[in-house]
């Protein structure tokens, strides 16, 4: 009982921090600096509360539900259920929000006098509140309200830099796509309501046996489309690579790091928690969707030239990887192998946490680069490691983490996902194992391509010589920006080193779900921090970390002092074949990945367009200017969205035919409608 009171009041305090931050920002909107400090400070306090709250709540044993009353109709009750899964997501949101807000204090300064800082603070805090409510709401209709708060607040953040027409267009696409998704979610909830008579998640769970199997399947498809739109699975992702780069960088970090994960949260909540038992093909479909999103996401990321778009595509890739964990978990559950399902879900949650951490580092450091160079186009960066050494270092750590290099955190979650997929290949006896095998192959290729992608990102932003004039004058970012990035970078390393402990906590989180209540824990943390999954494999993060460091230092000292101590190091210019080396001669981001794009031309459909303007159009000997335009065809527009739009337009044209404009016809329509409704509802 005391637990419940502490938790519910704790949660209310936590949310009210952000609400006060939001309202205060509006009240202080006349003073830019004050509004910024007020909203960021309260967001920081709120996030710290959130982290404290999650640690506290993980210690409690039971699920806490509470209702704050209802409005409009008794169906919409403001009720919350805070189980360990919710607590985990509260932790992820708070952790990322903490460092993004810290970063925001300094980052927002360049918006002073340009836009209203009060509005930014208001929507920023509201956005976090929306996410917190989404992961705790336990009533379908209240959930939709929270979902809408989150979506609309983030829409206003996307179009915040509104002088750029591109951002406004991006925001519009985001708004449309997110509401198409919401429409599907509403349909799913209505179907569940029809058969269980309640919007309350607990009642739906209890009544899920009443739902016919085919309705469950329809709900699955609807929820997959609805939540998949938010999560950014391919082909519903089209809003993501335009909307995330448009927002201010600390908001991009939150959107990519956390917001898209709310889609994953709801998939876990509905498929794993509420609608159990489910048919096995659900899990397999999620595996296929995850593989496709992971592979295509990283391929598009590779071809990108804009750093924030690259990061956005890479988020799609990582959502795919998370879905591999969720999908295999669901498939294992349906096949009656809860132990492996547990591993899969732990892997998915771990990757969710890890991706939240390293993707925010990358977005924040990209933001600090863009702040200095005023462009996100990597072609105009270069050589920034000399001007912004710390930002470069944090970006490097983020890149290593996201490329799954040990001992950073990304490696350990991908390791666990690999182990889950291997288990599926070995233990499942029917054709489903081929899907597990294909997923493992997709994940292996994704790993290799992600490495290439972040070599490109780091190499072309920070290394070689500056290619743009702004990049030559860049300076290191301010203290608050570096604090935000540094904190997360340290987090990425610590989550890696202590991955065994993190996994054992996640193991408790997952076993809190009702389907896993009887499943034995699969993880035991031994003194050497080694981690084993079902005896198939063993890895120890601290041992890895220490041996890396020892080897590195040993070799450093041995080469420095062991041989030829008096070595002289001269400085010289790079070998230039006798010409003067200009920045134009070094490799560009486009050139760096052009060969991979060519290898995958069947999927990426690169197009090349030459334009030559001649001095004399008649003789065509001396070109005045040459332009080469390299683009990728947007397959989704061409093959999916434009046909869909044409279809809807054609349908509307048809519908227009009944609009004759003659009043008698309309009266007849009303009459027919009346008669038929009388007949149907008699």
């Amino acid at each position: 009982m005391i637990d419940a009171i502490v938790l519910s009041s704790g949660f209310i305090v936590l949310v009210s921090c952000f609400v006060i931050g939001a309202i205060g920002a509006v009240l202080l909107r006349k003073h830019d600096a004050l509004a910024n400090i007020w909203s960021s400070f309260l967001a920081i306090v709120g996030s710290l509360c959130g982290i404290l709250f999650s640690f506290l709540a993980l210690g409690f044993s039971q699920v806490t539900s509470f209702t704050l009353g209802s409005f409009i109709s008794p169906l919409v009750s403001i009720s919350f259920t805070i189980d360990k899964l919710s607590v985990f997501f509260i932790f992820v949101i708070s952790l990322v929000a903490l460092f993004c807000s810290l970063y925001g204090i300094g980052y927002v300064k360049h918006f002073y006098k340009k836009y209203s800082i009060g509005a930014l603070g208001f929507f920023y805090n509201l956005f976090i509140v929306g996410m917190l409510l989404v992961v705790t709401a336990s009533n379908g209709l209240f959930f939709l309200i929270a979902w809408e708060i989150m979506s609309v607040a983030s829409y206003f953040l996307v179009i915040y830099d509104r002088n750029d027409q591109k951002n406004v267009k991006a925001g519009f696409l985001y708004l449309v796509m997110t509401h198409i998704g919401t429409a599907f979610i509403i349909l799913a909830f209505l179907l569940l309501y029809k058969f269980t008579g309640s919007f309350d998640f607990n009642s739906i769970r209890l009544g899920s046996a009443l739902i016919p199997a085919y309705i469950k399947d329809i709900v699955f498809v609807l929820a997959m489309i609805g939540f998949g739109t938010k999560a950014g699975i391919i082909p519903l992702h089209i809003w993501l690579p335009v909307a995330h780069p448009a927002a201010p960088s600390h908001v991009s970090g939150l959107m990519s790091g956390v917001m898209i994960k709310t889609g994953v949260y709801m998939m876990i909540r509905i498929f794993v928690d509420i609608l159990q038992p489910v048919p096995v093909w659900w899990g397999l479909v999620i595996l296929v969707v995850g593989s496709v999103s992971a592979l295509l996401g990283v391929l598009y990321a590779l071809a990108e030239r804009d750093i924030k778009q690259l990061l956005a595509y890479s988020s799609i890739e990582n959502i795919g990887i998370i879905l591999l964990g969720v999908g295999s978990s669901l498939a294992f559950l349906s096949l009656g192998m809860p132990t492996f399902a547990l591993i899969g879900l732990v892997a998915a949650l771990f990757h969710t946490l890890n991706h939240a951490v390293f993707k925010s580092i990358l977005f924040l450091s990209a933001g600090s680069v863009i702040n200095q160079t005023h462009t996100g186009n990597m072609e105009e960066h270069g050589g920034l490691i000399r001007h912004m050494p710390q930002t470069a270092f944090f970006f490097l750590m983020g890149s290593m983490a996201i490329s799954a290099l040990p001992p950073f955190n990304g490696f350990f979650s991908e390791w666990l996902i690999f182990q889950t997929l291997f288990k599926g290949m070995m233990e499942i006896n029917f054709s489903a194992k081929w899907i597990f095998m294909a997923s493992a192959g997709a994940l292996a290729f994704t790993g290799g391509l992600a490495l290439a992608c972040f070599i490109k990102a780091f190499g072309s932003i920070f290394l070689a010589r500056p290619r743009g004039s702004k990049a030559r004058q860049a300076k290191e970012s301010s203290y608050s920006l570096r604090m935000g990035m540094g904190g997360l970078a340290a987090g990425a390393l610590l989550l890696g080193i202590f991955s065994a402990n993190v996994m054992s906590i996640l193991d408790r989180v997952v076993r809190d779900l009702s389907v896993f209540q009887l499943t034995p824990s699969f993880i035991s943390v031994s003194p050497s921090q080694s981690l084993s999954s079902e005896n198939i494999s063993l890895v120890s993060a601290p041992v890895l970390f220490v041996s890396f460091i020892v080897t590195f230092i040993g070799i450093l000292l041995a080469t420095k002092y062991g041989v030829y101590k008096n070595q002289k190091v001269h400085l010289g210019t790079t070998w230039d074949c006798g010409t003067d080396l200009t920045p134009g001669m070094e490799i560009t981001p486009t050139g760096l990945t052009r060969s991979i794009v060519t290898v995958f031309k069947g999927v990426l459909k690169p197009s090349i367009q030459h334009e030559i303007e001649y001095h004399d159009a008649e003789s065509r000997y001396l070109p005045k200017s040459r332009t080469v335009i390299l683009t990728l065809d947007d397959m989704y527009q061409v093959y999916l969205y434009i046909p869909l739009r044409n279809f809807i337009t054609a349908l509307s044209e048809r519908a227009k035919e009944i609009q004759s404009g003659n009043i008698n016809v309309y009266i007849m329509y009303i009459f027919i409608a009346l008669l038929s409704s009388l007949f149907l509802l008699r």
């Binding site: 799954a404 291997f422 290439a452 890396f548 790079t574 070998w575």
Partner: protein
């Protein structure tokens, strides 16, 4: 005795890898009707490089400076944790298949960055090519190793290497197929024919040499040494995971000696194969290399499909 064996296990790869390179070069020289340098020449080269002054580009950052150490450290670490001739080091916590693959990827990551760092046209293109090849090789490498792992139900390299000999009817074919896949990946990852020519500095074709073009002195020595170690690491993985015969399981000197000899003979077979291949075929056109890597991936896939 055990401590002595541990020292051998840790330093074997780094210590003997230059000898392996010398062996391949000698063999290639024989094929070309040349006398060739002594097989100990790579040691002399390293010694010479370690005693030279260095010249570093003004464009270079700390990435360039520390990359040789990082790369050498990764090969040293991996070299110490792969199975060689004795199975009782299996308690080591770093011998997981995925750990090895991704630790080697750290080396690739920094190598390509170092190629970009100095801003020369050669280094950048070398990095671009290396990045493409290693990105595509990773899927293949994982799949071929996985088919070996499935045979013994473990991804720990020592467990795989001590699994029962493979001459069963149902594991023979997948093992052979996976080994061919592995051999293709070996050639790709260690910059050998038909992927790369380790003996050339022709700017149109070089990959690995292009990335290390700006290095000199101690740093170049570390780079060359690391690259030699990588070849020996892959060769040992190949012979021990796919042909797991003759691993010593006790510390009896005679058994250790015997298994050491068996191991060296197996390694020499792989090195000879590399040398023969380099003397008999030409380098492939760059855009045909992805097809070859896909072959490796498919071979691994077939191997897995036959096992599960």
């Amino acid at each position: 005795m055990v401590i002595f064996l541990w020292i051998i296990q840790v330093f074997f790869i780094s210590g003997l890898s230059p000898l392996g390179v010398g062996f391949v070069r000698k063999l290639k020289a024989k094929f070309q009707n040349r006398q060739g340098a002594s097989i100990f020449q790579p040691y002399k080269d390293l010694w010479k490089l370690f005693h030279k002054d260095e010249i570093i580009s003004t464009d270079a950052s700390w990435i360039f400076t520390y990359t040789p150490i990082i790369i050498f450290a990764t090969t040293f670490f991996v070299g110490a944790s792969v199975p060689l001739f004795a199975s009782f080091f299996g308690s080591t916590l770093a011998s997981d298949m995925l750990v090895i693959i991704y630790t080697l990827a750290i080396g690739t990551f920094f190598l390509t960055l170092a190629g970009i760092d100095v801003g020369s046209a050669f280094g950048g293109f070398g990095s671009s090519r290396e990045m493409t090849i290693s990105a595509l090789a990773e899927g293949g490498l994982l799949f071929v190793l996985l088919s070996a792992a499935l045979r013994s139900n473990s991804t720990n390299l020592f467990t795989i290497a001590t699994a029962e000999p493979f001459m069963h009817a149902d594991t023979f074919l997948p093992t052979i197929l996976a080994f061919f896949g592995f051999f293709i990946v070996l050639l790709a990852e260690t910059a050998r024919f038909p992927f790369d020519n380790p003996a050339t500095h022709l700017e149109l074709t070089m990959i690995h040499e292009a990335m290390i073009l700006e290095y000199s002195g101690k740093k170049l020595a570390l780079m060359e040494w690391a690259s030699a170690s990588k070849l020996l690491i892959f060769a040992s993985l190949g012979v021990n995971l796919f042909f797991p015969w003759g691993m010593a399981n006790s510390t009896q000197p005679s058994i250790i000696l015997l298994s050491g000899i068996i191991f060296v003979v197996k390694i020499l077979v792989v090195y000879t194969a590399v040398a023969v291949l380099e003397s008999s075929i030409a380098k492939f056109r760059y855009f045909r290399l992805p097809d070859l890597l896909m072959v490796a991936f498919v071979l691994g896939g077939i191997g897995i499909a036959l096992l599960i």
